[in-house]
């Protein structure tokens, strides 16, 4: 008999194979592009490789430790190879497609199998995740293999199916925290199926135990407990990430995710998008009407700031018009009772996992990727429904095929970084393609590369904030940085150095005052709090310091043999030094007109270093005040701001607020004075007095 595939199947096969060829190349050549991978998913592999896993004090964010890493660890070899970063996700996707194709083709013919493949390729979020490095597709793949194996488990079937049932569950559980829910559900279904065969049940339990030990990422739970006394990690973060509002929060999240996934197919061509704001407004009204407006959100988000992003980024897309149709059909299908129909089973499985995610995870704008499993189930349920009675639902087959073809072609073309030009960029402009989600990192990487080019054997340390992009410094082999935790920073700054060394503070704390032996090399903007410091500047044996008068000071005058300068209400001094240090600045301030006292506040950078009291109009009797001023090597601007008003002298056009008796003094701070404040002011004053 000649196998004549129906025309929907032929169309689906051609489009699917073409799309898969494109995505295969993309998976091979694409650099790591997604925020989470740069911050923790893959960045932690580089940190663990340098400092080990257990007892590592150098994790740059709690998320590097608290989330399961069994799937992320697979990327280690690709970090060393420098290409193929997306292959683990893409292989997972291919495995899922094969399972889906066989599931549908075995029951409804080859055409249904190919349409199922194309339907999955038409879900933008699923496909974008499949050619990225996030671990969401891994959970879907684990469940797909589990289903594939479970359907083959029979009383006398080969034990390999039971083994892969258990292995798939362990793989799902270890891929990410949210994989625990489907893993538990899969385990329950398997135990229920094997309830009459004690030998198979025992075998399954044994394999499951082995699988969970090997793939369940036990070590992240153990180490999280050791560090935070909570196996799921830092309690604050865990609390923030989960839905803390129970059923009400779950219902609110379900409404948000459902509304955020209403896609009529034309949004990507609109500029500006008019449909998404309408959906947001409608969702807000529904939430207010049901009293759910404040539930289910992650702290920091609320109904007013709620946005359905849908801008073609990896983590900010939806599931296209086919996903919308399938979500609606699944909601209706669940109301029927057809337990022996594949479409009903898939729809119910999708609804259960959808509800589970809504109940367990707090809402954030980029959480849609958590729903790859339910939406894959919805779409396969739709295909199964369309093909379950040959010919009877031909119109639905045409609709599904049309939406699938549209989704598989249009959404990549309108995506943020999955377009054909991005594929070219992944080869010809790899560094910028890698940083496309955060272009502000480009000058930072370039600055570090420039330092490294000048100091090929030097040591380059890295301190980061919790949302910093760490990975670019490891995917580029010419940068060679050593990340250290914030807790290790004081020891690093205090250590003696031999040879060139630098420190990149990336979105981290400002080093103020600059410690001795540290000089600021370069400040990067717009990356917040990002500075490259020289840890081994060359010093002269004795510090050289000078003071110059800047803006706001009038020319020097002499009266009764004493020299002084008048100043306006805001004036600046320029203090030069050849090293980073805390120095004592000695000032004698006086009032211009009367003995009414006032204060002059001194600041350097944005830091207040102290106040000087002006209480007398006699410049020859003004007492000296000593203030500890943090100085960086080079020119420092010290600003003096007077509390007193500016006034005019009689027959003198100059505005004057206060006067400074000359000369000013700048000297080395007394030993033991390490910070600014009243106590150090007193010590600087006593040092000035004894000088």
């Amino acid at each position: 008999m000649i196998d004549v595939m129906a025309w929907p199947g032929r169309v689906a096969r051609v489009v699917s194979l073409t799309a898969l060829a494109y995505w295969t190349v993309f998976a091979l050549v694409s650099p790591v592009t997604v925020f989470d991978a740069h911050v923790y998913n893959l960045a932690r592999l580089a940190v663990a490789e340098l400092y080990g896993f257990f007892g590592n004090p150098h994790w740059t964010t709690p998320r590097q430790l608290m989330f399961p890493w069994s799937f992320d660890a697979i990327h280690l070899v690709f970090l060393h190879l420098g290409f193929g970063y997306a292959l683990p996700s893409f292989l997972s996707f291919i495995g899922t497609l094969i399972v889906a194709r066989m599931l549908l083709a075995d029951r409804f013919g080859d055409a249904a199998g190919w349409v199922a493949v194309l339907a999955l390729l038409a879900l933008p979020t699923l496909v974008f995740q499949s050619v990225g490095t996030k671990n969401d597709v891994a959970g879907l793949f684990g469940v797909a293999v589990w289903l594939h194996a479970l359907l083959r488990v029979r009383p006398h079937a080969h034990a390999v199916h039971l083994f892969f049932c258990a292995l798939a569950i362990g793989f799902t559980a270890g891929s990410k925290t949210s994989g625990l829910l489907p893993a538990v559900l899969c385990t329950a279904v398997t135990v229920w199926k094997l309830r009459r065969s004690s030998s198979q049940l025992l075998s399954f339990c044994a394999w499951l135990a082995v699988s969970c030990v090997l793939l369940g990422s036990i070590e992240t739970y153990v180490e999280s407990y050791r560090q935070d006394l909570d196996p799921f990690g830092a309690p604050d973060l865990v609390h923030d990430n989960r839905n803390n509002d129970g059923l009400r929060g779950g219902l609110a999240n379900a409404l948000r995710y459902a509304m955020a996934n209403v896609n009529v197919g034309v949004e990507i061509w609109q500029d500006p998008n008019q449909i998404t704001p309408f959906l947001e407004r409608t969702c807000r009204r529904l939430l207010w009407a049901t009293g759910l407006e404040k539930t289910g959100f992650r702290p920091g988000f609320d109904a007013d700031s709620m946005r359905f992003l849908r801008d073609g980024w990896d983590a900010r897309s939806d599931y296209g018009p086919l996903g919308t149709l399938s979500l609606g059909l699944a909601a209706v299908a669940c109301c029927a009772w057809r337990p022996r129909q594949l479409w009903w089973q898939l729809a119910c499985a999708g609804v259960v996992t959808f509800a589970g995610f809504c109940m367990s995870v707090a809402w954030m704008p980029w959480n849609n990727r958590y729903l790859v499993l339910p939406f894959a189930a919805f779409v396969l349920a739709t295909v199964a429904f369309a093909f379950s009675r040959a010919g009877a639902r031909g119109w639905l087959q045409v609709v599904v095929l049309a939406l699938s073809v549209y989704g598989a072609i249009a959404y990549p073309l309108r995506s943020f970084n999955k377009q054909p030009m991005d594929l070219v960029g992944a080869i010809t402009d790899r560094s910028n393609q890698e940083l496309k989600e955060r272009l502000s990192m480009a000058p930072v990487v370039a600055g570090v590369a420039a330092w490294r080019a000048e100091h090929p054997t030097g040591r380059l340390f890295l301190v980061t904030g919790i949302d910093s992009w760490l990975l670019p410094f490891f995917t580029r082999k010419d940068l060679r940085v050593e990340p250290i935790g914030l807790a290790a920073l004081p020891a690093l700054l205090a250590a003696e150095r031999q040879g060139p060394a630098a420190l990149l503070v990336l979105n981290g704390p400002e080093l103020r005052p600059l410690p001795d032996k540290v000089a600021e090399l370069r400040r990067f903007s717009p990356e917040r709090g990002t500075v490259l410091y020289d840890l081994a500047p060359v010093h002269t044996a004795r510090a050289r310091r000078t003071i110059e008068f800047g803006e706001g000071f009038w020319s020097a005058e002499t009266r009764d043999g004493a020299e002084f300068r008048w100043a306006r209400g805001r004036a600046t001094l320029h203090v030069h030094t050849d090293r980073n240090e805390n120095a004592c600045l000695g000032l004698r301030a006086f009032t211009p007109f009367t003995d009414t006292p006032f204060q002059i506040t001194l600041t350097t950078g944005s830091q207040e270093v102290g106040r000087v009291r002006a209480a007398t109009a006699r410049f020859d009797e003004a007492p000296e005040s000593g203030l500890l001023v943090p100085l960086s090597a080079g020119r420092n601007v010290v600003e003096l701001v007077s509390d007193g008003p500016e006034r005019l002298f009689a027959n003198d056009p100059r505005l004057v607020a206060f006067g400074l008796a000359l000369p000013l003094h700048i000297s080395e701070a007394p030993a033991g004075v390490a910070s600014t404040g009243p106590a150090t002011e007193a010590r600087c004053s006593s040092a000035s007095a004894s000088r």
Binding site: L45, V99, F141, L151, F164
Partner: protein
Amino acid sequence: MRSQADDPTKPSSTSIDRGSTAAQADPPAPPAARAGDILRTALRMENIPYLILAVLSVMSVVSRLVLILG
């Protein structure tokens, strides 16, 4: 009447099942032939998801051991 194709509880038999039946009936094959059989079985379409899962699992375990012990 519901067809068997509509019933997901009755999947078609797999190559692994068939392979095991054949293996019980045939005399033991030389090691090279057995390796070839295993490879051919693994590369059948229905076993590729297993193969992918096995490869990813081994890579995960090895990578984590390297990171933890190395």
